[in-house]
Structure formats: C-alpha cells, structure tokens
Symmetry: C2
Subunit: 133 residues, 2 copies
C-alpha cells in the first residue's frame, strides 16, 4: 500500500469524524461528550470502564463526567457491591439528547455515503466491520 493510499483512508476517517464533530457541536457538545453519551446508551459502566473504553486516564474521566453531570445529562450512582466503585448512567435529559444526536449523526453519515453505489455501500459496511473487529 503506497503512502498516498494511506492518506486516502485517513482523509476519509477525518471526513466522517468531522461530520460527528459538527453533529455534536450542533448540540453544544464536544466529540468526547458525544462518545460518552454513546457509551451510556446501552450500558451503566464504572468510571474505570469508561476510561478504558475512551483510552483516557481516570482523572480525565472524572472531569468529563463532572461536566456532563453539571449539565444534567448523566448521574453518578454508588455501587452496592463495592463501595469504591461509581457507576454512571444517563438521565432522562441525557437519553433524549442521545436520541437526537443519533438521528443527526445518522443523517450526516448517510449523506456522506449517498454518493456510493449500492454495491459499494454494502461493501463499506463489511470492511468497516472488519476494521472494527
């Protein structure tokens, strides 16, 4: 694979990520906050699990959750099993916002893929699944 071909893959990823960033910004959120809400959509993880998932230090997640909590999108809950552990969950407002974001992101990504032929759209999904692993 030539270096220009790597460029193309990287540029395409930036294009998708720019779409996500704009979707988040439209709701006055950062990309990281968007990812946090995405993680909480179907989970109630511990602080450590969030850090692992986002590849961040735990202290960074403390601040991240602080700001999301201050805005009313998430809530901390003490674990019943282990008094050291804190779990994080969406509030009703957070869930509503998450659903709006999902719709916005979906529209943005679909717009990006609208230029592809049906066979290519099928293929890009297969490839994306392979990359995700």
């Amino acid at each position: 694979m030539s270096s220009s071909e790597v460029d193309v893959v990287v540029q395409a990823s930036f294009t998708v990520l720019d779409t996500l960033t704009r979707s988040a910004a439209g709701h006055d959120l950062s990309l990281t906050q968007l990812r946090l809400l995405g993680i909480l959509r179907d989970r109630t993880p511990t602080m450590a699990a969030i850090a692992d998932h986002l590849g961040l230090d735990r202290s960074s997640v403390s601040g991240l959750v602080d700001r999301a909590e201050r805005r009313g999108y998430v809530a901390r809950r003490a674990s019943a099993d282990d008094a050291r552990v804190t779990t994080v969950e969406l509030t009703e407002a957070g869930r509503t916002l998450g659903q709006e974001l999902t719709a916005t992101v979906e529209a943005g990504v679909e717009a990006l893929l609208d230029c592809l032929r049906p066979a290519d759209r099928k293929r890009v999904l297969e490839i994306a699944r392979s990359v995700t692993g």
Copy 2:
C-alpha cells in the same frame, strides 16, 4: 441504512483515529499537531488557509503554530506580496518528524487493514476516495 450500520462506520472511523492519535502521542504530539504537519508536507499555506483546512478559528491556529514553532517544527515567513499575510513552512526538524510520523501512521493503518482480503483492500481505497470527494 439501519442505525446499527451507521454505528459500524462510526466505530471504524474511531478506530482509525485512535491509531492516528497513538501515532502522534508516540512522538509527543496531539492529533491537531499531526494534522498541521501533514498539511505542511507539500504546501506553504497562509494562516487563514490552515484555519480553513482544519476548520478552526484563526486565533486557534495562531496558538497552534506558536507551539509548533516553539518546538522547532515550523517557521513563519512574511509574504512578499501582501504585508498582512504570513505563510507557514516546515523546518528541517519538522520535515524529519513528519517523515517518521508518516511511517508510523502507515504501519498502523496497514495493521488495521491486514485482516482484509486483497480485493477488499482495493475496494476500501476506492470507497475512501469517494467519501473524501
């Protein structure tokens, strides 16, 4: 396209971006600094052109270039045509670092795509080109 299929595309983009972020961090750079060096690889843009390319405010680019300049990777040059204009170029150290980054990123992206069959690798490049436009 179902929402789970959008998820797959988004997750694949995050995977590529995480590879880039790790490549940059390995050289003690942020993703934005990596993008800046990438832009300068084959151009000598004005501050305004960098801002347009990265989708940032010009004041953000001033700080970005300040920090890169302080580390010896880029240099500002006054335009001969228009005294208001400043162009930015790589230093020798910046070019060397950029080449190292290119190699690191290339290896990382290739590792991601190693699971694909040859026909798929060809296809992903075509699709990536379409998305990039």
